[in-house]
């Protein structure tokens, strides 16, 4: 294969695949093409996408955060608890959840950098801890207006409109009520993380830590700070995801959010293949999330049963990645 072609496929192969998929579905899946459908895809991946962007930051410093799914569900339950049981204001609930996310990230970070607990282990423990903890206040029940508390009282608080807004409002753009708030937040978070990782010195140092922590520390970088920062970012984004979920659901539903972890990890990992980066990157993560969204939307529109969706998702994933990584490694084969 000529080298230019090779380089082209590595850089753009994944995007070509994506465009191919879009064209395929536009032709064969009725109702797939169109602005509302496109927005719907964005909407369907907004929450996983936001989580995936956070986990990308931990991947950049060569870490991993298994607790994101449970941070999101904790944030979901916590905001509901604040709104419905404590009858707090939307703002209070939001701030409390963001602080909780940051705090969990901080603890994760401290466990990892100070206590030297391996990242997978620390965040796995945190995951179990949070899964349990989030159910304690209501003894495992979902939180909804009118629920009976363990104490016997009835909870009177409601999800205020202002809170539901962040999950449900749609901005007009050409079409009326087109762009939902979560999509805007997703795009903003993606932009923020992208700028942070690619364009600031902090991002560059985080990549340096991920590649060679010791050397980075010896060059005078406070590597612990940046590693903790990565987990804090991951915690905060996960809690944003949870807030959006709460606002969309309108209740503290304990059964929701089970798949957030795996789906967002998948998005972040698919991101490796985008533009031939072969490393964690924000743009790739966002595109990875969209990729999964497009696939699932297209299959749904083609009336594929649920189990074929997993199958196709896995299959396309593997094939796309084999392409990218096999080619990337071949073109670098010379290297040492």
């Amino acid at each position: 294969m000529s080298n230019d072609l090779n380089v082209f496929i590595i850089k753009y192969g994944f995007l070509v695949l994506l465009v191919g998929l879009i064209i395929f579905f536009s032709i064969f899946a009725s109702g797939f093409a169109g602005p509302r459908s496109a927005v719907f895809i964005f909407q369907s991946v907004a929450i996983t996408g936001i989580l995936a962007l956070g986990v990308t930051c931990t991947l950049v410093v060569d870490g991993f955060d298994l607790s994101i799914g449970s941070v999101a569900t904790s944030s979901l339950m916590m905001s509901a608890y604040f709104l419905v049981i404590l009858e707090a204001s939307a703002l209070t609930a939001i701030i409390a959840c963001l602080l909780m996310g940051a705090f969990v990230g901080l603890i994760n970070g401290i466990l990892i950098v100070r206590m030297k607990v391996p990242d997978l282990l620390a965040t796995l423990g945190m995951m179990f801890l949070l899964i349990g903890l989030q159910r304690v206040p209501t003894e495992g029940r979902s939180i909804a207006t009118g629920m009976r508390l363990p104490s016997g009282e009835v909870a009177d608080g409601v999800f205020p409109e202002s809170f539901l807004w962040i999950g449900r409002h749609r901005f007009d753009l050409f079409l009326e009520k087109l762009i939902p708030v979560p999509v805007v937040i997703f795009i903003l978070v993606a932009l923020f993380i992208w700028i942070f990782l690619e364009l600031t010195r902090h991002g560059r140092l985080m990549y340096a830590i991920g590649s060679n922590e010791r050397a980075t520390a010896l060059s005078g970088t406070n590597t612990n700070f940046y590693k903790v920062l990565a987990y804090v970012i991951s915690g905060v984004t996960a809690s944003i995801g949870g807030l959006l979920l709460a606002a969309r659901l309108g209740r503290g539903d304990i059964a929701s959010g089970n798949n957030l972890l795996l789906d967002s990890v998948a998005a972040a990992l698919i991101g490796f293949a985008v533009l031939g980066a072969a490393k964690p990157n924000a743009l790739g993560t966002a595109i990875g999330a969209l990729f999964v969204g497009i696939l699932l939307q297209g299959l749904t529109m083609m009336n594929a049963p649920y189990y074929t969706q997993d199958f196709v998702k896995g299959g396309v994933l593997v094939i796309a990645l084999v392409f990218t990584f096999a080619l990337t490694s071949r073109s670098r084969q010379g290297g040492h």
Binding site: R201, L205, L218, G220, R332, H336
Partner: protein, 499 residues
């Protein structure tokens, strides 16, 4: 006498029961190069790591320009102008970033750099840094694609830009050949004239002769001699560091035996001249040449780790075209690779596990390992090569650099071979140990062919009875090591070869 830049009093440091520094007193003067000499494991790197804030001393004081100096992390040291280039090259570069980011890493750490990174600007400033060291590398290349020499130069170049007041270089030339080293020395001369105090650690006498203003010898964690009277007493310094006089090596050329390996019209890369070469039993052959002359490439072809463009090899009288390192080893070809950190050391293993790695099947019944025999062979090699350690159970990454290197060489000597290849085996090894390893290799050379790839001519002359010069991926000269014409060899090394 120049101003005192840094003064160390009675510094002590122990790792567990192992007392490494036992009361060091040392002064560094502005505008002077102080060379620190010491055998492997003497504690030089430990001293360096204390000065740059990686380790904390157990007791003792350090003062910098008259005020107390207690760095707790590397950033503290940098802030006060103490800049270090560490012995382990992998501690100096970030493989997954490009050259520009690597050169600018220190600046990236500073608030003054600003919040945003603009890559074009970054590259422009990095290019300037590279020019200071006459480095010609594409700023966009990933460091992981560079060789060890370039990496070392990048680490050094970066240190120079820190505006050091005290510059510490821990074996900066261990993977450089004379040409690159000379570039470094010129830069050091400039810094010296600007009043920088330089602490220079090296095992290479040629470096030391070239740049030392003062020599401090270290032995077993204590200062065993300070030499600052001109002309410097190099021999005395070596004696002080070793505790005994160095003996001269005299190379006696043995009778060459059967042909071990024959290279026929071997072309290493596109457009280079073909290589024809035969190596014989009992011989110790040194192949020398500048960095990038193709030594490692040739070594890896012989070991089955890469392929020649064209040409053939005969091992004994059979065709030899190894497709993998396993196949090479099966044919009795052993190779100790250069750059032990990436290519040799298994960091999480102890000495014993590291030594026996390639030949585990010789130490097992079926698949089960025979632990007592493994211990036995490890102890034997520790004794034979004089590896400084507590026991064979020591984790390898607690050993000093030179001793790790001895373990790497020892690994390939636990079994007899037809052809032994050593690529830069003396990287970071002290003079005495180099002699020890050298004489051990010579002593065991009977009945096999031995090829040693070294960039440093001195090292070649010290170990080999036949010296071959490589230049631009071809062979330019072939000399027996008696009454060798040094000028001719040197010109062969440095001449521009036409393709």
């Amino acid at each position: 006498m120049n101003k005192i830049a840094c003064e160390i009093y009675n510094l002590e440091k122990a790792f567990g029961p192992n007392k490494v520094l036992k009361g060091i007193d040392l002064k560094l003067y502005s505008g002077e190069i102080t060379v620190l000499m010491g055998a492997n494991g003497a504690g030089k790197s430990t001293l360096v790591k204390i000065l740059c804030g990686v380790h904390q001393p157990d007791s003792g004081k350090i003062s910098l320009f008259g005020s107390p100096f207690t760095p707790e992390k590397p950033a503290d040291a940098f802030r006060t102008g103490v800049v270090t280039v560490h012995q382990s090259i992998n501690d100096g570069v970030i493989p997954d970033l490009d050259v520009a980011s690597n050169l600018m890493l220190d600046q990236l750490n500073q608030k003054e750099f600003g919040f945003f990174v603009k890559d074009s600007l970054l590259r422009k400033r990095a290019r300037k840094i590279a020019q200071n060291m006459k480095l010609e590398i594409n700023m966009k290349t990933q460091v992981s694609e560079l060789g060890i020499a370039d990496r070392q130069l990048i680490a050094i170049a970066r240190a120079m830009t820190r505006d050091p007041k005290v510059l510490i270089l821990d074996e900066p030339t261990s993977s450089l050949s004379a040409k690159e080293a000379e570039r470094l020395f010129t830069t050091l001369d400039t810094l010296k004239s600007q009043g920088v105090a330089i602490l220079y650690i090296s095992h290479r006498m040629s470096d030391i002769r070239r740049i030392a203003d003062r020599i401090v010898s270290m032995r077993d964690g204590t200062i065993s001699g300070v030499f600052d009277k001109k002309p410097l007493n190099f021999e005395g310094a070596v004696t002080a560091m070793l505790g005994h006089k160095m003996t001269d090596v005299s190379i006696k050329i043995p009778k060459k035996g059967k042909k071990v390996i024959e290279l026929e019209n071997l072309v290493l890369s596109k457009g280079s001249r073909a290589i024809n070469l035969s190596i014989f039993e009992n011989q110790v052959v040194a192949i020398t040449g500048l960095i990038g002359s193709g030594k490692s490439k040739l070594a890896s072809i012989l070991f089955g780790a890469s392929n020649p463009l064209t040409g053939s090899i005969k091992l004994g009288n059979k065709n030899y075209n190894p497709l993998s390192t396993q196949e090479a080893i099966k044919n009795g070809v052993h190779m100790c690779s250069k750059d032990r950190a990436s290519n040799g050391v298994i960091k999480t293993f102890n000495i014993e596990k590291n030594i026996s790695l390639p030949f585990l099947s010789d130490y097992s019944v079926g698949s089960l390992l025979r632990f007592s025999r493994l211990k036995e062979v490890a102890r034997k090699k520790i004794d034979e090569l004089g590896i400084v350690c507590q026991s064979e159970d020591d984790d390898i990454d607690t050993l000093s650099g030179g001793n790790q290197q001895k373990v790497m060489v020892g690994r390939w000597l636990i079994k007899d071979s037809e052809l032994l290849i050593l690529d830069e085996p003396f990287q970071g090894v002290d003079i005495q140990a180099r002699r020890d390893i050298g004489s051990f290799i010579r002593k065991t050379a009977k009945g096999r062919g031995t090829i040693v790839f070294v960039a440093e001519l001195d090292e070649a002359l010290e170990i080999a009875d036949r010296v071959i010069v490589m230049n631009n991926k071809a062979i330019l000269g072939d000399h027996l090591n008696n009454n060798i014409n040094l000028n001719k060899v040197l010109s062969e090394i440095t001449s521009e070869v036409k393709l």
